[in-house]
Symmetry: C2
Subunit: 275 residues, 2 copies
């Protein structure tokens, strides 16, 4: 499996991906799931992919070749000449459909779903940053201020901390930290997600980034985050009072001030069955 | 959907369930998913169920009726006369199979999976506590010291805190608190899980429990847990240093001491496409 997350903030974009791929439990490999497309001064784009690796690799290959044509002008269109991020996302959607048409039926005959999902975001000179989630049908949705992040793959373990922290006004480095904490929770609870990680942080209107890094188990910052988060979480947990079950501890909020609404309870006395 | 969790500790058992049921997004109801079977001095059992509600309700109905026979003695067997928790789990498995035989084919024709999963645990006089997870085929697994908790339904959001806290030596009230924090993360990130909650805490060798409570949005303890956990989590998050991207801040662990192993990066210069 995979875990990828991307966040769109007023200050920029954050992308984070793991690198574990498995075909069954006994065939586990490392494949990088992030690819950065950069033309300094003109465009910065980042693509994260989850799902069937053969599909996502084919899509990545087609994405920058000239197999695709602009349906309006019939000119070859790639992510390098797309005029807007929306057009670039359409190119990506077309690439997904191209692979689906080519491979989908054969995969189906082999009992394999056409399973791929992607996060694609960036900025092209002349417009603001945009962030998209692209589905296996080639359709896509865009992040908005109300929903400023997308996750693909094993997204549930790491969602609570994103829900609590991320808003459009979150600073870039804070969002990067939050993405790493979200990844840490996922790594801790799911073996199908694994190191190394790829992290890319893009500042608005820069059209390039020097904050792109591969994080392995020796990375001092990520080690610090993992250790500190784990220890502090435990301290916070310990600091919360235990539930009080009777009226003696008046300082502590009671778990049940009344006994109303108890769950369904069936009691058998002396061998007799009562409902 | 559903979220249920149960923990087996040296000190006892903790069971927690939500109560939201949905058939499609526009048909949301409240059904209690916990049922307690208690014969004071002789047995205490608790059943949590997830999946198709018609299936789990049928199973619960059969479970204590006398439709099932012990395959060895051909005597009627229910959870009230089972001699051990393992036998009681077998009764539960038989009840699942009974419903599957009766309803499975009709459900299949209607395009509905035979989807049910359950957690079942307790203690019968004469043996120790046991905790089982029962699958839709009626087979089951038992919790061990290495894996002292089971979750069913929307289990992923709430797994990280259980992974960090629960061991067999965790005190009962601490495990109850942990289950509630786990539920809070799930409630926060998934609308298909909802209040009220049912919480049952069983102390070893008691064969009954007075720590069974229904928790709604007004419960003072759960409100305190939710508020405190959210606030403190945020404080811990804020207290972790942001990543440092250059060598100036020597106090802070660097996110990338070296630039080796950067992710795949493609750069186009002056309109030319380079791979």
């Amino acid at each position: 499996m995979t875990y990828c997350v991307a966040v769109k903030l007023n200050a920029g974009l954050v992308f984070l991906s793991d690198s574990r791929t498995n075909a069954g439990l006994d065939q586990i490999s490392t494949f990088r799931k992030m690819i950065v497309y950069e033309k300094p001064g003109n465009r910065f784009m980042c693509l994260l992919s989850a799902g069937n690796l053969s599909i996502s690799q084919s899509i990545r290959e087609i994405l920058q070749s000239e197999h695709l044509k602009d349906p309006d002008s019939d000119e070859p269109i790639t992510i390098w000449n797309a005029k807007s991020m929306f057009d670039a996302a359409r190119v990506l959607g077309q690439a997904v459909r191209h692979v689906q048409l080519r491979d989908g039926e054969a995969l189906r005959r082999a009992g394999v779903d056409f399973n791929v999902s992607m996060i694609f975001g960036g900025q092209i000179a002349g417009e603001g940053m945009r962030l998209f989630q692209v589905y296996s049908a080639g359709n896509f949705i865009e992040a908005t201020p109300e929903t400023p992040f997308f996750q693909i793959g094993e997204s549930k373990y790491g969602k609570p901390v994103l829900d609590r922290v991320i808003t459009p006004t979150t600073p870039l480095d804070e969002a990067a930290k939050c993405a790493l904490v979200s990844m840490d929770s996922t790594l801790k609870s799911n073996l199908s997600v694994g190191l190394p990680l790829d992290l890319a942080v893009y500042e608005v209107d820069r059209f390039e980034s020097d904050k792109i890094v591969c994080i392995d188990e020796n990375n001092p910052y990520f080690r610090m985050v993992r250790t500190t988060w784990g220890e502090k979480l435990r301290e916070v947990f310990d600091a919360i009072e235990h539930p009080a079950w009777d009226g003696h501890a008046t300082e502590v909020p009671l778990l049940h001030p009344s006994r109303r609404n108890q769950p369904l309870r069936k009691i058998a006395n002396a061998g007799e069955r009562l409902i």
